[in-house]
């Protein structure tokens, strides 16, 4: 359940009312005004893109790439088909914000995608939705129907000569499809195996056509930017980190959930919003940007603000904005074992270093966690990780290595203790 604090996407959304997602409710909140503004005033495509650039919006899918800049890469004069694709394949452990956008405010996404289609000259778009949130997929299809019936999608939108259609496509249980080129493969009905880049999707995307892929939250921020102006969005955050952002807080806090707050808000404030530490326990560690981001010790975290630059300076990433909070009772070896298992299970299997390396990492960490660690295991983990990171088609291998590096760096004593004494330093149960 999203909590709105001075937000953009959830502004005015009363998540407690069952119909808050419907077109009518969205219209009442000022929905589709941005689209009307563009169509009524025939705002040129360049100007729409410029406005998005001005907003300082950075991609909310993880990498934080400036959205306006990405849109400008699309060959606008390209004569054939072009596509916009939305990435709602949220599967990064700790991230659960896009599901709430779809459930409570799907039309913000739809409007954002229509505007994107307009700005980049696309005739069609697809929203790729994580298979596990199938109910959200069904709801989104209903929202699309509403929009279609209202003349907001399809031929001659709102009576203009602009046409654009949008469809939903679901995943069915593969984390890797969050990676944009794996997503495209999957959308084409294949296994979700990432493509080598270059060529990038902007020139060779869906069905080999120019394609722009953004995260759900990125698209859903666009109506606000167009309606109220990029400047206003920028001011909601801080320079180079425009806007508010959804943070998904999970783990040992009293009120896990989504919080839409200005970028640059201190972590301490966010923790407080989430009700503080559960059972009053001590904060031990935080993964600030989804499971692929390096873990940071709690005390380091307490000094940081929640924005791309601050977190990155501290040696981690803001990523998708998934904040995983761990208290003093957590055995960091066991915590890492969970994550290592995840990457092993989810590697798409094509690149040798990732296919073989994720398995190797997991097996060694699993051994250590079970008191069967050996001398040299930590060096082995580091070396195997070095042979994986940066050697593969996509960043999953890196994502698998970051936790290993950061856990064994910041909490090395726990690993060494387990290897030496065959017993965990922190006696931990998963409850």
């Amino acid at each position: 359940m999203a909590v709105f604090v001075n937000g953009v996407i959830f502004e005015g959304v009363d998540t407690a009312t069952p119909d808050c997602w419907r077109l009518e409710a969205y219209m009442a909140r000022g929905g589709y005004q941005a689209l009307k503004k563009i169509l009524d005033n025939k705002i040129p495509q360049e100007d729409v893109i410029a406005e998005v650039k001005n907003s300082g919006l950075r991609g909310r899918g993880g990498a934080g790439f400036p959205t306006g800049l990405k849109w400008s890469f699309m060959p606008r004069s390209f004569p054939g088909d072009k596509y916009v694709v939305c990435n709602t394949d949220e599967g990064e452990p700790g991230t659960f914000k896009d599901r709430d956008i779809i459930i409570y405010n799907p039309h913000a996404l739809i409007e954002g995608m229509i505007i994107a289609g307009y700005a980049m000259g696309c005739k069609a778009g697809y929203n790729y939705i994580h298979g596990e949130i199938f109910e959200a997929y069904e709801l989104f299809e209903e929202a699309l129907d509403e929009a279609r019936k209202a003349g907001l999608l399809g031929q001659n939108i709102l009576g203009t000569d602009f046409s654009f259609d949008l469809f939903a496509h679901h995943g069915y249980g593969a984390y890797i499809c969050g990676e944009e080129t794996a997503l495209l493969e999957s959308l084409e009905g294949k296994k979700g195996q990432p493509r080598f880049k270059p060529p990038f999707p902007a020139s060779f995307g869906l069905y080999g056509k120019p394609t722009t892929i953004n995260n759900t939250e990125s698209f859903a921020s666009v109506p606000f930017i167009i309606r109220d102006g990029g400047q206003k969005f920028l001011e909601a955050g801080k320079p180079n980190n425009g806007g508010t952002k959804l943070f998904s807080i999970s783990g040992h806090v009293n009120r896990p959930g989504n919080y839409e707050i200005p970028l640059g808000t201190p972590f301490a404030t966010l923790l407080e919003m989430a009700g503080g530490m559960k059972d009053g326990k001590k904060l031990k560690a935080v993964i600030p940007g989804g499971s692929s981001a390096p873990v940071l010790p709690g005390d380091v975290m307490m000094e940081l603000t929640m924005d791309y630059d601050s977190i990155s300076k501290a040696g981690s990433m803001l990523g998708s904005g998934a904040v995983i909070v761990m208290n003093e009772d957590v055995c960091m070896v066991k915590a890492l074992e969970r994550l290592a298992y995840f990457y092993h299970e989810e590697s798409c299997g094509q690149c040798t270093p990732c296919r073989e390396g994720t398995g190797w990492l997991y097996k060694v960490i699993h051994r250590i966690a079970n008191g069967e660690g050996r001398d040299g295991d930590l060096e082995l983990l580091e070396s195997v990780g070095n042979n994986m990171a940066g050697r593969t088609i996509c960043a999953l291998a890196d994502a698998a290595v970051f936790p290993v590096r950061s856990f064994t760096k910041h909490f090395r004593n726990e690993f060494e203790h387990l290897i030496k004494h065959k017993k965990a330093l922190v006696d931990h149960k998963w409850c």
Partner: protein, 166 residues
């Protein structure tokens, strides 16, 4: 092999994509086939995908069967192994584990008298561990038959849910 309703649903999926890109519909088509088998199958074997169904769906969509098989085995929600009437998938990834996900899985297992990855003798329940479902804030989360997500699955909530499914 599939009902007229299921075929109509596959046709709906096919219509989403450009005419020469029928392959895109395979994911939806396999899901639709699986749902029909789950709803009509009487035994765990009849509730999952098998070579015949995959070949049928592949031919219907117009792609080589082995390409459909690749898809069916790559994405782990397509049940390729016999499965109970209710497939219960509990997320046990780190964020969920921190909030009781592992515990919930074990509790369900104890109640049903099965381990993770097993099916009850009466073929009613299958218990699985899953990876991140994009709902960590609602942990513990439980997915019933792939599509129904149950949030905040405390012991009491689990008791209630299992009773409903009896």
């Amino acid at each position: 092999m599939l009902s007229a309703q299921s075929l109509a649903k596959i046709d709906y999926e096919l219509a989403k994509y450009p005419a020469d890109q029928f392959r895109s519909a395979i994911m939806g088509a396999l899901r639709i086939a699986l749902v029909e088998r789950r709803e009509t199958g009487n035994t765990p074997e009849e509730r999952c995908l098998n070579a015949d169904v995959i070949e049928f769906v592949a031919n219907y969509v117009g792609i080589p069967p082995v390409a459909a098989y690749e898809v069916a085995t790559f994405y782990n929600m397509y049940d390729m192994k016999p499965v109970g009437k209710y497939k219960l998938t509990v997320c046990t990834n780190l964020p969920c584990a921190l909030q009781g996900g592992v515990n919930a899985a074990h509790y369900i297992g104890e109640k049903l008298g099965i381990g993770i990855g097993e099916t009850t003798a009466d073929g009613k329940f299958t218990l699985l561990e899953g990876e991140c479902m994009g709902a960590c804030g609602d942990a513990p989360v439980l997915l019933v038959n792939n599509h129904k997500m149950c949030s905040f699955m405390t012991r009491e909530a689990i008791d209630k849910k299992l009773a409903e499914l009896e």
